[in-house]
Structures are given as structure tokens and as C-alpha cells.
């Protein structure tokens, strides 16, 4: 029966090619816009490490200006980064399963033999747990040992992109490379890793790529590195030396911890609260006690990574899909009623309402399948257009490259949604046509 319905459907669609094209076009456009918008939305505001959402926490302590909150729009929040001294102190805790303190820096990467042009590379200065905390995959080698942070030892991890560029993708573990004016030894090369939005450091836009170089945390004090992200302060301090800077109230360090269960979470919360209370006794932290462990999804909202524009876009996508569906319902209804005379004859010859209903539903299925294929192609083209919109300089990576990566999950979601909605939209016309009393049309003949 299904094969026969399919045949009928195709024959019916061929009868009014104009109307059929219109319907397929409406479905395709609806799907395309949904695929594009949801991909954009996920890239901008999805949770890229959702599987760890319940165990991964950003650590923030409120040691800001007693006279005003760090963020006037959200006065309930502590500042989004830590001072160097607080980060070092909280890092002493052995409650978390994994813990990381880090900041962004910039360094010129070069080879001793000058075989590759020196290049400025964004660098993450981080403790060794970074890769474990964020489930970063390695292509070759691995992280450095925790002791290397304290030394600090001249060990370095490269991104896949940087390793491809400098070593042509070969296993470079054990080889030497120069970062700024110092010789480092490569211990690991990352595999492809592109968390979007970049949640672990939201200082400089959320559509950036991860850093290309990773070096042990101790090098900031050893090489007097400043943050290439944001450094913020509230206290008028006369800072002249690097030592004064790392002892100051300036915030520039990010901290994340992995706490596997509620018990460890409560213990760690108590640990940071106790630390801050001791600091209060020493005259620091003059604001009300407000130390937070924030999950990734909340972190993205707190830091305005999920923007109003994104929410508006999603609303718009759904309004668009709604219009496309209403349109499809209307067109299907018109099309089915146009052929009502034939349906009347079928009913008179013994087809049940159920059979007529299924026959028309198959027709809807054919339209929405073709619409989905066309819509996917169209959506792909739109994403390419979108990428062009975000590209200023084709040679620089960052956010633009990120959008090129089409997110399978969001495509599948949007597609399933649109297909389901289209078939649902076909239910009413298919049912309605089955209700037609055959006698009316037989009389007219």
C-alpha cells in the first residue's frame, strides 16, 4: 500500500508543479533559517562541556571595592577573576579532584634554526590540570607534571594547528621550541579542540579559538608575564614592580575546579569561605561574604555570553518557522481540496477515511522530505554567508573560523524539529480531506 501511496503522491505533486514548488520552498526556507539560527545560537551560547556541567565550577571571591560592586549591572556577583595571591592561596586546597589557575599571555614562538617565520602566539599560562579539567584531547604526549608548575620547568604544549604549522603535523614531542627568549621542550600536542563559546576565559569575546601554546603557571612570576586578557583593579595602588603587581588587588587569574559530588562541593565552599574570613581579619575583603562556585551554564549567563541578541534571534527563528508552517498548512489544504473530486471517487469506490488520511500523509511526507534536503543545502549556504559576514580579515582566525565548523547536533535538532513540525502541519489537511462526503462530488459529475 505504501508504495502505491508514494506513487500517487508523486503523481499528484507533478499535477501542479507551481504549487508543489511553493510548498517545498516554504518548508525548505523554514528549515534553512532554523538550522542557521540554531547553529549560530549554539556557537554563541551553548554549553560546550555539558557533560561536566554538574562537576565543573568557576571559583570567584568577592574582594572588590567596599563602596561598589565589581559589575554594577549585576551587583550580586563577585568579580569574574581572582587576584594572583588569592588564586595561589585557594590552590593549596586538596579537596577538588582537579583544579586549575591560569591566565592568557602572548609570546613570540620561534625555532632556533629560524626555519619557520617567528610568530606571535596566544598562550595560556596554566597549572598542569588544565587538560584534565576541560577534557582536552591530546594527539601526542600529554600534560606536564604538577611539579613543573613550581619549578618552573621549560615544558610546553602546542595546539594541533600550531604543530601542523611548525612541524607539518609530525609528532614533535621531545623537540625544542623557543617561546619569547627562552628554550622550551615540547611534552604534548593537542588534538582538534574547539569549545564554543570559549567558556573558561570570557574576557575577550566568546567566539575566540583556544590558545595555541600552553606553558606551566610558574613562568608568569619567573618571566614577569602580564595578562593578555583583562586586568582590572579598584584600589588606587602605587604599583611599580612585578612583585607589587602580583601582591596587589588587581584581578587577572581565572580558576576552575572539578568537584565530583555535593559533599566535596560543600567542603570546598567552606574552605574558600574560611580563607576569606581569615583575610577579612587581616583587613582585606571588606564586602559581604560572597564566594561562588559557578557551573558552566550559569557562568555563561552571568558573564553575558548568552546575549539578548541571541535570544532575539532564536525567537525570530521560531516566528519564521511558524509562518512557514502556517503557510504549508494553507497550501496543503488548498491542494488537497483541489483534488477533492478524485478523493470523492476513491471514497465512493470503498477507500476508508483512514486510508485516505494515510494516502495524504504520505504526500505530506514526500513534500517535507524534499523540503528538508533543499533546506539543508540552503542552510549550508546561509551559514557560509554568515561566516562571510563575520570575517574581516581572512588571514586571522578567531571567531570567524569557529563559525565554519557546522555543529552536527544543532543541525540534527533543527532538522528533526522542522520535519516533525511539517508532518504535524499536514495532519489537519489530511484529516479534513478524509471528512469530505463523497456524494457531493459525485453529484457534480
Amino acid at each position: 500500500m505504501f508504495g502505491y501511496y508514494l506513487q500517487l503522491a508523486i503523481r499528484n505533486l507533478r499535477r501542479n508543479p507551481g504549487l508543489t514548488a511553493l510548498m517545498i520552498g516554504a518548508v525548505a526556507l523554514g528549515i534553512a533559517v532554523c538550522v542557521m539560527t540554531l547553529t549560530l545560537y549554539r556557537a554563541m551560547s551553548g554549553n560546550p562541556i555539558w557533560w561536566k556541567n554538574d562537576v565543573l565550577f568557576a571559583v570567584t571571591l568577592d574582594g572588590w571595592d567596599p563602596k561598589q560592586p565589581a559589575n554594577e549591572d549585576k551587583p550580586e556577583l563577585p568579580p569574574w577573576q581572582l587576584t594572583y595571591r588569592d588564586a595561589m592561596a585557594v590552590m593549596e586546597s586538596d579537596i577538588p579532584k582537579h583544579k586549575v589557575i591560569m591566565h592568557k599571555a602572548v609570546g613570540v614562538l620561534s625555532l632556533e634554526n629560524q626555519s619557520v617565520k617567528p610568530e606571535r602566539a596566544l598562550t595560556r599560562v596554566t597549572t598542569s590540570d588544565f587538560f584534565a579539567v576541560f577534557d582536552v584531547p591530546f594527539q601526542y604526549g600529554g600534560s606536564w607534571a604538577p611539579e613543573a608548575d613550581r619549578g618552573p620547568e621549560p615544558l610546553i604544549v602546542l595546539s594541533k594547528k600550531m604543530n601542523d604549522k611548525v612541524f607539518g603535523g609530525a609528532n614533535s614531542v621531545g623537540r625544542g621550541i623557543r617561546w619569547e627568549d627562552r628554550e622550551f621542550r615540547i611534552v604534548g600536542v593537542l588534538d582538534h579542540w574547539l569549545p564554543l563559546p570559549i567558556f573558561y576565559d570570557v574576557n575577550n569575546g566568546s567566539l575566540e579559538e583556544p590558545e595555541d601554546v600552553y606553558i606551566p603557571f610558574g613562568w608568569n612570576a619567573a618571566m614577569e608575564l602580564n595578562s593578555a586578557g583583562n586586568t582590572n583593579g579598584w584600589k588606587p595602588e602605587d604599583i611599580k614592580t612585578y612583585q607589587e603587581f602580583i601582591n596587589s588587588e588587581s584581578i587577572w587569574i581565572q580558576m576552575w575546579v572539578e568537584l565530583p559530588d555535593d559533599a566535596s562541593r560543600q567542603r570546598f565552599q567552606a574552605f574558600i569561605d574560611n580563607y576569606v574570613i581569615r583575610q577579612k581579619q587581616a583587613g582585606r575583603f571588606q564586602r559581604p561574604l560572597n564566594n561562588r562556585l559557578t557551573k558552566v551554564d550559569q557562568w555563561l549567563i552571568d558573564n553575558d555570553v548568552v546575549e539578548n541578541d541571541d535570544r532575539v534571534l532564536v525567537g525570530l527563528a521560531f516566528a519564521f518557522l511558524a509562518v512557514c508552517l502556517l503557510n504549508t498548512v494553507g497550501l496543503l489544504l488548498a491542494k488537497f481540496l483541489n483534488n477533492a473530486a478524485i478523493t470523492g471517487i476513491r471514497r465512493a469506490l470503498g477507500a476508508s477515511r483512514r486510508q485516505v488520511f494515510f494516502q495524504h500523509l504520505v504526500e505530506v511526507g514526500v513534500i517535507s522530505s524534499i523540503g528538508a534536503v533543499v533546506g539543508l543545502v540552503l542552510g549550508g549556504l546561509m551559514l557560509m554567508g554568515l561566516r562571510a559576514l563575520y570575517t574581516l580579515d581572512p588571514t586571522d582566525g578567531g571567531g570567524t573560523q569557529a563559525l565554519a565548523h557546522v555543529d552536527v547536533t544543532s543541525v540534527v535538532t533543527a532538522l528533526a524539529l522542522a520535519l516533525f513540525a511539517t508532518v504535524a502541519a499536514g495532519l489537519y489537511p489530511a484529516w479534513r480531506i478524509g471528512r469530505i462526503p463523497p456524494a457531493v462530488y459525485l453529484k457534480a459529475q
Binding site: 606571535r120 611599580k240 525570530l316 503557510n327 498548512v329
Partner: protein
């Protein structure tokens, strides 16, 4: 209104209401989206087109990074500036600590009177360090006072610091010295109580962050940017920017092996980047809204075509008993107008609801009612055009159809 036959048209419509209601819903959503999209796009376009006070079109920026052990920052910037300033077509060149409109910068609180800084009364300033050619390189207009002189320029320092002189923009002047902002020659204080004398007042200049409500609160200090990374801002004669950029890239790219020429970019690059999300939102809204209206128009067209095709015999009969072509056209246009109007009425409600939500989200003033009136007129026009072709086809039906059996 018997001549218009509204009653029979309405009752004919009511007998086939499902299709009409579907189209009315589409129109309601279309109107709501149209009105609010136009409103949001207008805000974005206004934001992008604000005058920023600088000669943006003729400015470019060079970033150099010294990385070698024996790299000497001071020698390097002196050579670089001499090279750049010596090129024909260059009006001025200056080291700058940060790039205006780039999203990177530093700001601090300042006071009109010495004392402990109070966040309630402190005046925020977006600070830039420039040298004696800085004002000319930015291309800003001085409302009063003068640019910095060479002897005032302080050497580079690693820490954040102010200077004994400053050039400030008018909005800062007004806040520091109310009510008329008569600031020239007067003194204000930084957070560490160091006095600063105003030597110049800029008519208008935008600072680092285009999303900041104090974007035009700029203060310029006479100081060399800290090393070892140099950033130079160069202003050229109109139309010569591209050529000079290439020359500079060539000359500086090879002049010193201990440093890396990171990039040479026009200031418009940073301006575009800062406004990218606003521009893209506007483009996105315009294209999606147009597509949505196009689909709605197709829906209207489809409904009218369907109505015509199912009533061929009735139309023929009306023609046979004396209805003119014009009457037939009018019948379908009025019918369509009724559907559109139902959609517009419902759409006004939806539009206002969305407008309210947007005004809360974006902290914008409430949706202007003019937009609603304009949107409704637009939708009526679209509806009219979409139904015109089917209506004319209907009027072409021959009265002879009435006599046929099928």
C-alpha cells in the same frame, strides 16, 4: 455600502474560513516581526553612524613586537617613527598606548577635588598615552587649547600612570567642571591625588569600547607607550592610506630582525570589528524579515488563487448576469483586504507585546507607535499586490463558463 457588497463577500469568506484564518495568522506574525525588526535595526544603524570625531578613513595602525634578548625598544621606536614621518603623504604619526574603537583600552576614575576617591562622584575617563603628534594623528578637532609639545612627553613606564598635563573631551570637561565645562588651564586629580592640568579640550572623540555609555569620555596623556611592543597610529593625506600602508609594511618588516611586525591595519578595521555584531544583527534582521514577508505574501497569493480556482463557475455566473470585470476584481480584493485587516488587528497586539519584551531586554524606550502605523500600511500594500494577479485572472473568466456543465 450596498455597492461594495460587503455582506456577501464576508459570508463567502466565512464559509471557507480555515484557509483565511491561516493567512491571517501569518500576517499577524509578519506584522509583529516587521515592526519590531525595523525598530531594532533603526537603533543599530543610528549607533553605527554616530560621529566618532576622528579622521577614521585616513588613519592606519602598526603593531610591532620586540622579542629578541638584545631588542632595544627606545632605539626601535625612534627609528620607526622617523621612517614613517619621513614618508611623503604622512600627515602625522604617534605612538599610542591603545587603539580607539578597538575594544581594548584602559579607564580610571578621576576627581575635580583632591581627596579619597569616591565611586559615586568620580568621573570616568578612557585614557590614552600619545606623543606630540598624537592629536594630529588622531585627526580630532580641538575646541580649546593646544596639542602636546615635545618637551612634555614623558618616558615609557610599565605601570599605569597619569601625567601632569592632559587633553580631555568636552563631555569629561562638563562633568569635571560643571556647568559649562570651562576646563582649559584648570586642574583635576587622579585616584592617587596627582594633579593634572588641562591643556586642551577636544570637540568629540570616541574611546575604546563602543558599547560603553561613556564612550566619549576620553583623556589623552603625553607619554611614550610602554615597551617592548610598539603601536603606531599614522594619519595620511586623503586617498593615500593604502599605498602608504604597503610602503610602511615593507620598510618596517625588514628593518629590525629582533622584532616582529605583527600587522598593519586601517583604523576602519577596528571600527568595523567593534560594530560587527550590530551590523550583522541589522543585516540578519533585514534578510530574515524580508524572507518572512515574502513567504506571507506567497500565502496571501496562494489563498487568493485557491479561492478563484474553486469558484470559476460562480464567477462565470456573476459575469453572465451582468457583473463587470471591475466588480470581480473588487470582490477578490475586498475579500483579501478583510483577511489582511483581521491579521493586522491581531498583529498589532502581538507587535506591542514583543515590543514591550524587547524594551525590557534591551532597556530601550517603548516601541514607537509610528512604526506600528507604518507597518500596518506596509502589510496592507503587500496584501493588495499579492492578491492583484489572482483577482485579475478571475476577472478574465468568460461568462460562457456558466453555461457549461463541468
Amino acid at each position: 455600502m450596498t455597492a461594495w457588497n460587503l455582506r456577501p463577500i464576508a459570508s463567502a469568506l466565512w464559509r471557507n474560513r480555515t484557509g483565511a484564518m491561516l493567512v491571517a495568522f501569518q500576517i499577524a506574525i509578519g506584522l509583529a516581526v516587521l515592526v519590531n525588526a525595523v525598530y531594532v535595526v533603526k537603533q543599530r544603524v543610528d549607533k553605527i553612524n554616530r560621529p566618532n570625531g576622528m579622521d577614521v578613513e585616513n588613519i592606519f595602525v602598526i603593531a610591532s613586537a620586540g622579542f629578541a634578548k638584545d631588542f632595544d625598544y627606545e632605539t626601535s621606536w625612534r627609528e620607526d617613527l622617523a621612517t614613517i614621518r619621513g614618508l611623503p603623504g604622512v600627515k602625522a604619526a604617534s605612538l599610542v598606548s591603545n587603539i580607539p574603537l578597538s575594544g581594548g583600552g584602559s579607564s580610571s576614575g578621576f576627581m575635580a577635588q583632591p581627596g579619597e576617591i569616591n565611586p559615586e562622584t568620580a568621573v570616568d575617563g578612557n585614557t590614552f598615552d600619545i606623543d606630540e603628534q598624537g592629536v594630529a594623528a588622531l585627526g580630532v578637532t580641538l575646541a580649546a587649547g593646544r596639542a602636546f609639545e615635545a618637551h612634555e612627553i614623558l618616558p615609557a613606564t610599565d605601570a599605569f600612570d597619569t601625567a601632569p598635563q592632559a587633553i580631555i573631551t568636552k563631555p569629561v570637561a562638563k562633568e569635571l567642571f560643571p556647568p559649562n565645562g570651562d576646563a582649559l588651564g584648570k586642574t583635576y586629580y587622579d585616584a592617587l591625588n596627582k594633579p593634572i592640568t588641562v591643556v586642551g579640550v577636544i570637540e568629540n572623540m570616541h574611546g575604546s569600547w563602543v558599547g560603553w555609555d561613556k564612550l566619549d569620555h576620553v583623556m589623552l596623556f603625553p607619554r611614550i607607550k610602554s615597551g617592548p611592543n610598539g603601536v603606531y597610529m599614522v594619519r595620511t593625506e586623503p586617498g593615500r592610506r593604502e599605498a602608504i600602508m604597503r610602503t610602511v609594511e615593507e620598510r618596517l618588516g625588514t628593518s629590525n630582525p629582533g622584532r616582529l611586525l605583527r600587522w598593519v591595519r586601517p583604523l576602519t578595521y577596528f571600527e568595523k570589528q567593534s560594530y560587527l555584531s550590530d551590523r550583522n544583527m541589522a543585516i540578519f534582521l533585514v534578510s530574515v524579515t524580508s524572507a518572512l514577508l515574502a513567504i506571507t505574501a506567497l500565502g496571501i497569493f496562494g489563498l487568493a488563487t485557491f479561492n478563484v480556482s474553486t469558484r470559476i463557475r460562480q464567477i462565470g455566473t456573476r459575469r453572465a448576469v451582468g457583473a463587470r470585470r471591475l466588480d470581480i476584481v473588487r470582490h477578490f480584493l475586498v475579500e483579501n483586504w478583510m483577511v489582511t485587516t483581521a491579521g493586522v488587528v491581531a498583529g498589532c497586539g502581538v507587535a506591542l507585546a514583543i515590543g514591550y519584551w524587547l524594551s525590557v531586554q534591551y532597556e530601550l524606550p517603548r516601541l514607537d507607535l509610528y512604526y506600528l502605523v507604518g507597518g500596518a500600511l506596509g502589510i496592507w500594500l503587500i496584501g493588495l499586490f499579492a492578491a492583484l494577479q489572482p483577482a485579475r485572472r478571475a476577472s478574465a473568466i468568460s461568462p460562457a463558463v456558466a453555461t457549461r456543465t463541468v
